[in-house]
Amino acid sequence: MSLALASRAVLTNWPSHSGQYKVTGLLDFSSGNAAIERSVLDLRGLPECDLEALTSLPWMGFLANHQTRVPPGRAWMLLQGPPDMARSGDVLEVQPVASRVAIRYRRGGNGNVLFATERCDNYCLMCSQPPRQVADGWRLSKLRELVELIDADEVSLAISGGEPTLLEQGLADLVRHCAVHLPRTQLHVLSNGRAFSDPAYANSFAGIHPRLSWGIPLYGDNFALHDYVVQRVGAFAETLRGLYALERAGQRVEIRVVLVKPTVERLAALARFIYHNLPFVDHVALMGIEPIGFAKANREALWIDPVDMAAALLDSVRYLNRHLIPVSLYNLPLCTIPRELWPFTKRSISDWKQDYLPECASCVVKEQCGGFFSWVTDEWRSRSVKSISEVCR
């Protein structure tokens, strides 16, 4: 079920500037983890009794519904979206000027991203987050604040954009901030890797975080193909140099490959190239395309039905697997790929954008399957989508 990321809200008694606050429920409070001044107490569903001892504490504000009673004079909010949009442990950004509340962190969610910048120096044909040239350096301080409010036992976080390395040292500072506040959390940064063709920049990330890794796209084993997909001359050469610099700086690297048509045509060659040139990579992610953003404008050039990728996928996955390079398939519904490849699939679409189609209701492998992007349309649907009624062993 896709969960909303933001909703309108009735905001009463809040300061006019935006602020990020932790939603704290009774359990969190009683375990002593709440940073009260930076939290909103979730009053919804609390028992009918005298809560004054609790509410008199210096909470930033309260999360209420029509049944709750809020202490007079204090800040409180009434969300106008579905009630479970905000839960205990989540971090909200309260935007009084817009009468809006946005979820910046979802406890137990699988898609928590620190959004670093809208700027990017690539211009990928299928970009799901089209770049804008804006001065959004203000995001860094917001992200540092957010990091301080995220659960210490959060398993993993991503940093994405745009192109996070455009923040230069700001990115290293953010990573260091994560190392201080969330030392046990895996941090995965999505980047095109081009900035690391300057080895000094790569070295600035050496040893600053105990669980840092990089997800870097490669769309072909040659510049003509890769540069075309990312629409920038010289990108392939810079990305490759960047990959070696990261390796020398002791960084863990994952190669990400969005399965656009031109890339699929040389997918086996790319797998071979990765093994022969980048054997140090931790993992290769082969990803079905997201039908959003620039992808919609470039459908002709990009779309290939996953069913038509079968041979290329089998070749490449078998090759990488035999050469002991871990490989996973993302965003490919099980009914569209050969059975042999099912063990390599991961349920990956972030819960806030994931859905199933009506025909999935009766499918016996629905729970294993990652489903579809919420905005999938007919022209981005494989012709082979169907409910699976039995699984042959």
Binding site: E247, R248, G250, P279, F280
Partner: protein, 100 residues
């Protein structure tokens, strides 16, 4: 023992190239390179008494063509080769994970 003689157009084949090719045959043949006015001649005399090889001349020609191509390649790339090897071995080594 009969000598097998193969002629090469000296516009097309240099002494250097043919000498390299001839060297390949020195296990089983005595080889002579003779500069004639209009061509280079290679004479091969078998060292052992085994029956003569009918394909010898054809093989030698192929090898000469290949060595000529190698000389062409070397012209384009010899300097780069030395530079690349030096550059590769002067820099840092891949990390331990990669070979295990």
């Amino acid at each position: 023992m009969d000598a097998i003689e193969i002629s090469f157009d000296c516009q097309f084949f240099s002494v250097d190239v043919l000498a390299r090719t001839a060297h390949r045959y020195t296990a089983d043949y005595f080889v002579e390179l003779i500069a004639m006015p209009d061509c280079l001649q290679v004479r091969l005399i078998a060292k052992s008494l085994s029956p003569s090889d009918p394909m010898l001349a054809a093989r030698f020609r192929n090898d000469a063509l290949d060595d000529r191509l190698r000389a062409q390649i070397a012209e384009c790339t010899a300097e780069l080769q030395a530079t690349l090897i030096r550059a590769a071995l002067a820099e840092a080594w891949p990390s331990a994970r990669s070979a295990e």
